[in-house]
């Protein structure tokens, strides 16, 4: 199923529900503007026709006369149903016109989205690149998605204003009216959000088509399923959950903070009128302003806690956003800008920090194991002689452990085995400080390379030789201790 087939229906449903909901509220505010029930059917069908016609057939060459005829076909039945009285026709006719126009706008934008892709030509890669550029840039006002968002915001604000106006007026609702409002509101919310989500998918489908990307055919189905689940959740929260489900409001927080930080007398405002009702002016009673006092320690702690909680929440949100962005855009992460880039940086930083912590813990464990395995060089040499069977089983590993032991001993002298150094580079560093043992060191590292990086078996005698050489190097490093006080071993 193509999302394009579904989007005009969603657009029509949204246009219809917004216009019908506004008409309901206006009818409640001004009873003269109450609309008849049959008008809803015409609003819905005219929106559907307008959206589908604009999406599939309308183009710039369509004569204006055709559009007038199309609109006239919807207004004419309204006129007749209104009893051919022009005063009764004006308001319902206006609503049909508005609904039809909103749906037409959406339909045109859906058609435009495909044409935008046409302008980009058949360069799939550059199309995708353009897409990322457009996502990263703030200057994308001409994109249809922006149009969809602005319409959603505008309609939401309109309905909110009408609802607030009705609420402030203190009007009461009958059960049927409340039901109509709930149904229309829910349809508007669901269709608006679904339309927005669908528009994104539609745009991606266009880009995938041009990029000839191999996209799973079940993606649209899964997308619809995901959006439907989310919308059901939103619908549940909006209609079933209590309105004041979040105990922390800005007002409440500021009141708590004010109470904690400023322990002063309350502001007492003098009455603006005297007892006899005449206006009271200056000089009669002074205003009392609070005296600012230093905040208490608990107040500061609480304020800091609130700050950290909010900072932590923001950090967590950015981390999650970073995770999503990294997994969505993959290798194109470097092209991000602004908030997505910040989110990705936070995500990567935290991930790196955790990795380093994990590495440090693992290295510490390895060091402990090494200490356990090789008590000292002399004992190690004894092992070579006394426990041949055990030695043979773990011999290649022992050569590696020997290097760690050498690095450990040399590290105490400031010759640190930096992780970015290769074994031979480290070997050269040791040779610089142990010139008399340079041949031994060189031999050890040559053998180590073979043990560590080659796939050929190293003979037991060769391994024994390496371990002995390693023990010898450790002894030589330990002997450097006498020279340490003279500053012969420099840190590297």
């Amino acid at each position: 199923m193509k999302i394009k087939q579904l989007l005009p229906a969603l657009a029509a449903l949204f246009s219809f529900s917004i216009v019908a909901l506004s008409a309901q509220y206006i009818g409640l505010l001004f009873p003269a503007f109450t609309v008849p029930f049959w008008l809803w059917l015409i609003l819905l069908t005219s929106s559907l026709e307008s959206a589908y016609y604009a999406t599939y057939y309308l183009n710039r060459r369509t004569p204006i006369l055709v559009r007038f005829i199309e609109l006239g076909l919807w207004l004419l039945p309204v006129y007749f149903l209104c009893g051919r009285v022009i005063e009764s026709f004006l308001w319902p006719g206006f609503l049909v016109l508005i609904s039809w126009l909103i749906a037409r706008g959406y339909g045109s934008q859906l058609a435009f989205m495909e044409r935008v892709a046409d302008y980009l030509g058949d360069q799939g890669a550059s199309t995708v690149s353009w897409e990322y550029e457009s996502l990263a840039s703030t200057d994308y006002h001409d994109l249809p998605i922006k149009y969809f968002w602005s319409r959603l915001y505008a309609c939401g604000i309109l309905i909110a204003l009408l609802a607030i106006a009705f609420h402030n007026r203190g009007g009461s609702l009958k059960v049927a009216e409340a039901f109509h409002l709930t149904v229309l509101g829910s349809v508007a919310l669901v269709s608006g959000l679904a339309l927005q989500a669908g528009a994104y998918l539609f745009r991606l489908q266009i880009l995938w088509g041009y990029a000839q990307a191999d996209v799973s055919p079940s993606l649209t189905r899964r997308w619809i399923k995901g959006v439907a689940t989310l919308l059901l959740l939103v619908l549940f929260v909006v209609n079933v959950a209590p309105v004041n489900y979040w105990p922390l409001t800005a007002q409440r927080i500021s009141a708590i903070a004010r109470g904690l930080l400023i322990k002063g007398p309350r502001v007492s405002m003098p009455p603006m009128t005297s007892q006899d009702g005449s206006p009271q002016f200056e000089g009669e009673q002074d205003l009392l302003f609070p005296e600012e006092v230093a905040p208490g320690p608990w107040g500061i702690i609480l304020a800091l806690s609130i700050f950290f909680v909010f900072a932590g929440l923001a950090f967590l949100i950015l981390f999650v956003l970073g995770f999503i962005v990294v997994h969505l855009v993959g290798a194109e992460v470097e092209r991000l800008k602004g908030l997505p880039k910040l989110a990705v940086q936070i995500y990567s930083g935290l991930q790196r920090a955790l990795c380093q912590l994990f590495h440090a813990m693992r290295n510490a464990r390895t060091r402990l194991q090494v200490r356990g395995n090789i008590p000292d060089s002399n004992a190690f040499a004894e092992n070579v002689v006394k426990r041949p069977a055990r030695r043979r089983a773990a011999a290649p590993e022992n050569v590696r452990i020997m290097l760690r032991r050498i690095a450990q001993e040399a590290g105490k002298k400031g010759l640190v085995f930096h992780p970015a150094l290769t074994p031979s580079e480290y070997g050269r560093m040791l040779m610089d400080h142990l010139p008399e043992a340079s041949r031994v060191v060189d031999g050890f590292f040559a053998g180590y390379h073979k043990v560590r990086y080659s796939n050929q078996e190293v003979s037991i005698s060769e391994q024994e030789n390496l371990l002995e050489i390693g023990a010898d190097i450790i002894t030589k490093i330990e002997n450097l201790r006498g020279d340490e006080s003279h500053g012969k071993v420099g840190g590297t």
Binding site: P419, L421, T422, N455
Partner: protein
């Protein structure tokens, strides 16, 4: 396990390098890098100021290897068909016949590649990437070995067309020869007083031997920690703050293969992290696209690579090499 005949690769390298040394004074490292590219079945971009011996190095290698050699002198009016070849109408047979272009050789010297237009440069893409050319809908396979050595002058900008990233990525490695030392320059003057030594240079190998050496190189053992080091190094270029676009996975493959070839030339049948470090700048440097501000600050790809090599964990003695 049968012992790999890497000594043959080392002997081959010494033989060819010795032959080139008859013409080129110094430049042992550059010659080795060139051999690494040849043994890895890659292509080389020689970038440096005029007169340091880029073309001479390419010619001497081509001569040393034997096989067919062709040279393309790039100019702004060079057409793709001048490189790939074209079909011309043969009136005698009343049919179109394909006339091969200079790309149909085993060693191709593309001199001053950045003087050709992007369209012409792009005609090399298929040949370098896939070892074939398609003309008039027909695909012609190129011979083996196939080595493109391109030279470019980074100083001049007028009348030049910088190579696009896609084209740069096709080059296995980029070399900069640099000026010779005083002793070397003196030796050059001495050698070139009379007849140019390249005129007497003889082939010391043949294409079949090169192909055999290439096969041996692919079998050089790479331990897991070294492979992970290659990946870490390449990935670090992608997150570098001064880099706009890091090296691609093709870069990882190239670095690994280069390390294998380097190890084989050193008569080793296994790769060490030193091989990777040695090849990293030449293989990855030209694959980095620097940010404009980095370029303005005079930061170069080799300096970034040097910094990364100082930072990236080799994984030598961590427990699993990760």
């Amino acid at each position: 396990m049968a012992k790999l005949a890497v000594h043959k690769v080392a002997e081959f390298g010494a033989k060819v390098a010795g032959n080139i040394a008859k013409v080129m004074v110094g430049k042992e490292i550059s010659v080795k890098m060139l051999l690494v590219a040849l043994l890895s079945d890659g292509h080389v971009l020689l970038e440096d100021v005029p007169g340091v011996g880029k073309t001479m190095l390419a010619r001497s290698l081509a001569t040393s290897l034997g096989g067919s050699f062709s040279r393309i002198q790039c100019t702004p009016d060079l057409l793709p068909s001048d490189i790939t070849g074209l079909s011309i109408y043969n009136q005698k047979h009343e049919d179109f016949v394909f006339r091969q272009g200079p790309i149909m050789a085993q060693v191709v010297l593309v001199d001053e590649i950045n003087r050709a237009t992007p369209r012409t440069q792009s005609s090399l893409l298929e040949a370098m990437g896939e070892g074939q050319v398609t003309v008039d809908g027909r695909t012609h396979a190129l011979g083996k070995p196939f080595l493109v050595m391109a030279t470019q002058n980074p100083v001049e900008f007028e009348g030049t067309f910088p190579l696009p990233e896609a084209q740069l990525d096709r080059f296995f490695l980029m070399l900069q020869l640099g000026y010779p030392s005083m002793e070397e320059e003196s030796e050059i003057l001495l050698r070139l007083q009379g007849r140019h030594p390249i005129a007497d240079l003889k082939a010391v190998s043949d294409p079949a031997e090169v192909v055999a050496m290439q096969q041996i190189v692919t079998e050089v053992f790479v331990e897991e920690s070294v492979r992970k080091y290659v990946v870490r190094l390449v990935r670090s270029t992608r997150g570098q703050s001064q880099v706009h676009l890091g090296a691609s996975p093709r870069g990882s493959l190239a670095l690994l293969r280069a390390a294998q070839a380097h190890a084989a030339l050193d008569n080793r049948d296994y790769v060490t992290p030193d091989d990777v470090k040695m090849m990293a700048t030449s293989v990855l440097g030209h694959r980095l696209t620097l940010k404009a501000e980095s370029a303005l600050r005079g930061i170069t790809a080799p300096s970034i690579m040097a910094e990364l090599l100082r930072q990236v964990d080799v994984g030598a003695e961590s427990k699993d090499g990760a």
